[in-house]
């Protein structure tokens, strides 16, 4: 027991010193700042994703509604007058083809 006590007493007298305390604390602060930045970035990322998904689902439902309205409208037109539908289709195709041929006019 005396040997044990002697070793413990000797150990109590030892003083330990962290190397380069200034560097150590600066390094700690840098790590803390990095961690906080990373957390902030992740928070923004999640918020962005959440908002993005929200906006997209809202947009999709709106687009879906427009497409439905268009389809219903078109079917009404088709049910009503086949000549009008054909004229509209060919007219639209003609306009699109003309535009495709005149890409210079559009893009320049």
């Amino acid at each position: 027991m005396n040997r044990l006590e002697a070793v413990i007493e000797k150990e109590k007298e030892v003083s330990y010193s962290q190397r380069d305390k200034d560097v150590f604390s600066s390094h700690l602060l840098i790590l803390i700042h990095q961690e906080e930045e990373s957390k902030r970035f992740h928070r923004k990322l999640w918020l962005g994703l959440f908002l993005g998904i929200g906006i997209m689902s809202f947009s999709f439902s709106a687009i879906n509604e427009i497409v439905n309205d268009f389809a219903v409208g078109l079917s009404n037109v088709m049910a009503g007058d086949l000549t009008t539908v054909a004229t509209l289709s060919y007219g639209l195709s003609f306009v699109l083809l003309t535009l495709l041929k005149k890409t210079d006019f559009i893009f320049n």
């Binding site: 027991m1 044990l4 070793v7 413990i8 000797k10 150990e11 109590k12 030892v14 003083s15 330990y16 010193s17 962290q18 190397r19 305390k21 200034d22 150590f24 604390s25 600066s26 390094h27 700690l28 602060l29 790590l31 803390i32 700042h33 961690e35």
Partner: protein, 163 residues
Amino acid sequence: METDEVLVKRTLGGETDCYGVLAQRHADYLFGLGMRLTAGNRDFAEDISQQSFLRAYKYLKSFNTKKKFRQWLTGIAVNCYKDLSHKENRYLSLEATDEPSYTPDFGGNTGFYELIRPLTEEERTIFTLRYVYEYRIDEIAETVGLKSGTVKSRMSRALEKLR
């Protein structure tokens, strides 16, 4: 000089630099504790010290300013010691080596390191806190998260091993 509690409050108030002051103030203590727990493994002790400060910062809001900051930090360091011991094999392989040429890292009282080497992590912690840092049993129990009775029995077992 501002007290630890004031520095903690200022840190929580957004003055992160105050934490640097706290770290400087307790760096030697934590490093010393790490050296003792790891039986003189300097790299391990430095990692324990760094991880403890980082973890302490993370949980700073949970610190009860009515208690001593150093004791709270000790609890965190003990947990870091346990976690790092289990996660990082490189420390264990160093400690478990049977190489006769192996000697613990620089400085310190090698007699103490040799003494505590047969003890388990928990026994080392309890033994060191009790006999080197002179913590009371209830303080150790609170720090390591055990009941006072369990601390006493672990300490008896540690002493048995050392005799």
